[in-house]
């Protein structure tokens, strides 16, 4: 039996103006290239959950000829982001027309199961743990069910957990690989469409399992820059210290996403740098305190805002650059927001900034609210869920204002001169750090 796992990597901006701008903005292009080239950790996990006597092939969609012959499989599994789900459905339809059963899974499928079921013989809702092994067993007996529900908790417990098959990446040109240390995030922002949508609570992987995965990833992809595929890696300080102590001997360089509270703990920052952390992405979201109102159920980010600049300074002084993430088009944002974001980025000394437009991914609380309020521009806009295309009516500006403001801000933040200024500032921090140490 041969199973083909097809990953729909990469996202293409729909707006022609933004796509054209991207070519001339060095920092925008470099980050986009990294994201587009990340392998599908979900499918590597599915591969690991497949019984050993089943042959598994991992394929990226862009490796397959668009209209060419289909590779022969007994069963096909496809996972996709929302923005490429239509291409995933098209591929699924082609395989099914050729008589090959198809299983669809991933975040979008979990949020829109009825839609996905129209293009699949079976769908997996939630994570693959607790679903895929049973699905394979049922398939072999000719009794595959139309739906399987993955576990929402205890996914890292023995019997449920499987180490992702990083070995399937051997011989491929990835400049980064992803390793997950946790699922979910306690902050629970309204717009978040990440792993917290398929998990019932924050779940942290035992340190020894993470170390084993990092060793396997390192062996498969020749000392890559590792990207921790977490929503918030350092929620638990005790776990964080144990994790950092355990991975330091691996001599990796890595990036992760976490929240601003890591800056409260100088020892944690020191351990992070010593363990190879060279950048963290933090969802700052908005450059004003008022802008953060109602973003998360407990206004956690709003309460932290006054310390944003000092926190960025402390983190970068520890030798860890900060990629500050801003979301444009929040309900508190008017046309003045674009200049405010530009000024914050300049004043705060951030090395990098990620600018995205508020995106109502299907299934998120934001999507349901905007739909209820009649503010979605279309009923179905999945191919525009790129984080750069506007899909809703902002509260305090027009759609055109938001689109034009985003383009203006991209030009202000991502141009070569500004990028050079930020690099120069960060290099000064590195040099100062060397003097102090």
């Amino acid at each position: 039996m041969r199973v083909g796992l097809i990953a729909m990597s990469g996202v293409r901006v729909r707006s022609e103006e933004l796509a054209a701008m991207g070519v001339t903005l060095p920092q925008f292009v470099s980050r986009g290239r990294v994201i587009a080239s990340l392998p599908s950790l979900g499918l590597l996990t599915v591969a690991a959950l497949t019984p050993q006597d089943v042959e598994v092939a991992y394929r990226e969609i862009d490796e397959l000829p668009p209209d060419g012959a289909l590779e022969e499989f007994d069963l096909v599994g496809i996972s996709s982001f929302t923005a490429r789900i239509d291409a995933a459905y098209e591929m699924a339809d082609r395989y099914r027309a050729a008589g090959v059963p198809v299983v669809l899974g991933g975040l979008h499928v979990s949020m829109m199961p009825d839609e996905a079921a129209r293009h699949a013989d079976s769908i997996v809702i939630g994570g693959a743990e607790g679903a895929w092994p049973q699905l394979i067993e049922d398939f072999r007996r000719g009794e595959m069910r139309p739906r399987y529900q993955g576990l929402q908790k205890d996914v890292f417990k023995p019997g449920n957990y499987a180490k992702p098959r990083f070995d399937l990446l051997k011989g491929r040109a990835y400049n980064r690989v992803t390793v997950q240390t946790s699922r979910g995030c306690p902050i629970n922002c309204e717009f978040c469409a990440a792993s917290l949508r398929i998990t019932s609570s924050f779940q942290q992987k035992p340190v020894d399992l993470v170390v084993e995965e990092l060793r396997a990833a390192k062996e498969a992809v020749d000392l890559p820059f590792v990207e921790l595929a977490d929503d918030n890696s350092f929620v638990n300080g005790k776990w964080g210290r144990a994790f950092l102590g355990a991975i330091a001997p691996l001599e990796l360089r890595w990036f992760t996403e976490t929240d601003i509270s890591v800056a409260d703990d100088p020892e944690l920052l020191r351990l992070m740098h010593a363990a190879g952390c060279r950048q963290i992405l933090i969802g700052l979201e908005s450059p004003t305190r008022e802008g953060l109102e109602g973003l998360d159920p407990h206004n956690w980010k709003k309460r932290r805002f006054d310390g944003y600049r000092a926190a960025i300074e402390r983190i970068q002084a520890a030798g860890i650059s900060v990629n500050g993430c801003f979301v444009l088009g929040l309900d508190t944002h008017g046309p003045e927001i674009f200049e405010e974001v530009r000024d914050f980025i300049r004043d705060s000394g951030l090395l990098e900034a990620q600018l995205t437009v508020l995106t109502p991914f299907p299934g998120t609380p934001l999507y349901h609210r905007l739909r209820r309020e009649g503010r979605l521009l279309q009923d179905r806009f999945w191919d525009r869920c790129t984080l750069f295309d506007v899909n809703f009516r902002p509260r305090h500006m027009s759609v055109g204002d938001l689109e034009a403001g985003l383009r203006w801000l991209f030009g202000e933040v991502y141009n070569a001169a500004e990028f050079t200024r930020r690099k120069r500032h960060y290099m000064d921090i590195i040099k100062q750090r060397k003097v102090l140490h």
């Binding site: 400049n175 890559p224 820059f225 001599e251 650059s321 090395l351 050079t420 690099k423 120069r424 290099m427």
Partner: protein, 87 residues
Amino acid sequence: MTQGEREAWLRRTITRISGRPAHEVALEADLEEAVGLDSLGRLELLAETEERYDFLFDDEALSTATTIGRMLRAIDRHMADADTEPA
């Protein structure tokens, strides 16, 4: 310090930052392709080079000094300028 010593220092520093041996990397090989030196690692390398040789890369070099050869030429230019400066 001779050019050979400067080159040896650069190769040792690249090896330490990238985690891959840079001793045999061709002078004009792109460091990202040759030893996987990512953009953050390159900033560390540039900063350490400035610190060691007490000069600043110009803005263009911050983007274009992506090989050992280009970095050496930038250091050499700085040394030549320093030698010709009036006392």
